[in-house]
């Protein structure tokens, strides 16, 4: 290689290549100061809060016991179908803590209540499209709950019409192993703030103890 060629390679190829490498390293060194900014920071940003989750069907736990310790129960997560509820020869699937879409056509067991059979109050609800099933309940009717961990029977103590969902839970005060089943009380189309609530007490079946 003559002097001219060496000069060419040095100034037109080698130096630019090294400069480019160093500039790239410098860029990443400086950029690391900015990589904690939106959208790559670790802050949750909610553009829309609907969630589409798959429904899970829980398998029968085959416990075959009348009394179960809570820790023996298989983990029942949100959007899990874990049984069915039978009311006056009609039945609805039981789903635990369903998102609004997955709760359509089913009886949703609220996450802030207990499971059927547990001490405390189990809160079940369904939409207006299924409210005829629930509204047919009267005092002394029997509700059967068939779950992956066993069967429970509840008897309706009384029924109420309540304004506001926040006033429903208090109806079960003083009842051990209670169940509240509620739905929109109105017949006509539209969403109301008045609920039909059936207050039930467990009479037979598998008991879940803490």
């Amino acid at each position: 290689m003559n002097h001219s060629q060496k000069k060419f390679v040095k100034f037109a190829a080698v130096i630019p290549a090294i400069a480019a490498l160093l500039a790239t390293v410098l860029f990443f060194a400086v950029f690391s100061r900015f990589d904690n900014s939106f959208p790559f920071d670790n802050k949750q940003s909610v553009f829309a809060d609907y969630d589409m989750e798959d429904v899970i069907v829980a398998e029968n736990a085959m416990l075959n016991k009348n009394e179960i310790i809570k820790s023996e129960l298989p983990l029942i997560t949100s959007n899990t179908i874990f049984g069915k509820i039978s009311i006056n020869s009609k039945s609805l699937e039981l789903i635990y803590d369903a998102n609004p879409f997955n709760a359509i056509g089913k009886c949703n067991v609220a996450e802030n209540g207990k499971l059927p059979g547990e001490v405390g109050v189990s809160i079940l609800s369904c939409y207006k499209s299924d409210n005829l099933v629930v509204k047919s309940l009267e005092a002394e009717d029997v509700v059967t709950v068939d779950t992956i961990y066993g069967k429970c029977e509840y008897q309706v103590i009384d029924t109420y019409y309540v304004d506001g969902e926040e006033n429903i839970r208090a109806l079960a005060d003083g009842i051990g192993r209670a169940m509240l089943i509620y739905c929109d009380s109105t017949k006509s189309s539209g969403i109301s703030n008045n609920y039909f609530v059936a207050v039930c007490q467990m009479t037979d079946g598998v008991k879940i103890n803490p």
Partner: protein, 273 residues
């Protein structure tokens, strides 16, 4: 140290500054023309995947309203015949600093009218309050599906970048100018000046290609914490588009400068002969 070695070291340092300045300038321009460009971002959010998913989500949420109200879902979805919202529209509102939710009294009224039309048409009695509640729920579903609920972080980012890319661009250009002038003075021969100029251009192009490719590789497993996932994916697509553009522009610059430098070299060979 001889003059030759000193000149080489100085030329190298100045070329690094030019490469860094070029990266800063073109990088800022790339962000300005992509992530901070309304048309580009609206196009990304108007992709088939985003549009069909937002419509799917709206239809799913409307089924919930239908189940709660006993009014068929088709009554509510006909609103799409009169209004054609899309995530693209929400993005445009984001850039124009308008509200990015689509929830307003007008939409509630539209849903109320649709419900009343259906019920009157089927001679069904209804309570105005209950229909209003239903319309509110439907309008909420509409806004949740097609709007952007919490745009604050995105807005802050946009405002920050808009106020910064001018500074970054100017700094980059200044660095190039400040480094290029002494680089040229280091060489007396015209062909040498042309050669180092093309070399400096190549360094900018190569830095852009390297940075673009490395950033693209880093985004392979990146998942911004934006819900729902379709918006997170759209933003990753937008960022990758920007990085791809930077790499492509870098490749073009390398190609151009390589062509020019070879011409200079060939010409110098014929002169030497």
């Amino acid at each position: 140290m001889t003059f030759g070695k000193g000149r080489t070291i100085l030329a190298a340092i100045l070329t690094v500054i030019i490469a860094a300045g070029g990266l800063l300038f073109f990088g800022a321009q790339a962000v300005r023309c992509t992530l901070c460009n309304e048309q580009y971002m609206a196009k990304v959010f108007a992709s088939k995947a985003v549009v069909s998913k937002t419509k799917e989500n709206f239809e799913a949420q409307i089924q919930v309203v239908a189940a709660k109200s006993n009014i068929p879902a088709q009554v509510f979805t006909t609103i799409l015949d009169n209004n054609a919202p899309s995530a693209e529209s929400a993005v445009q509102r984001l850039f124009r600093n308008n509200s990015t939710t689509f929830y307003n009294e007008d939409i509630v009224e539209q849903f109320e009218n649709l419900c009343k039309e259906y019920l009157d048409g089927n001679s069904m009695k209804y309570s105005k309050d209950m229909i209003h509640n239903t319309a509110v729920s439907a309008a909420q579903a509409y806004s949740d599906s097609f709007g952007i609920k919490e745009p604050m972080q995105a807005k802050e980012f946009l405002n920050q970048v808009k106020s910064s890319y001018g500074k970054f661009s100017s700094t980059g250009l200044l660095a190039i100018a400040v480094a290029y002038a002494p680089l040229v003075f280091l060489f007396s021969k015209k062909k040498d000046v042309k050669m180092v100029t093309c070399g400096a251009l190549s360094s900018i192009g190569l830095a852009m290609v390297l940075t673009g490719i490395i950033c693209l590789l880093l985004t392979v497993n990146i998942h911004p914490l934006i819900t729902p996932e379709l918006y997170s994916n759209a933003i990753v697509v937008a960022v990758r588009g920007m990085l791809g553009a930077v790499s492509l522009l870098g490749a073009v610059i390398i190609g151009t400068s390589s062509y020019l430098v070879l011409r200079v070299y060939k010409k110098s060979l014929t002169i030497d002969e």
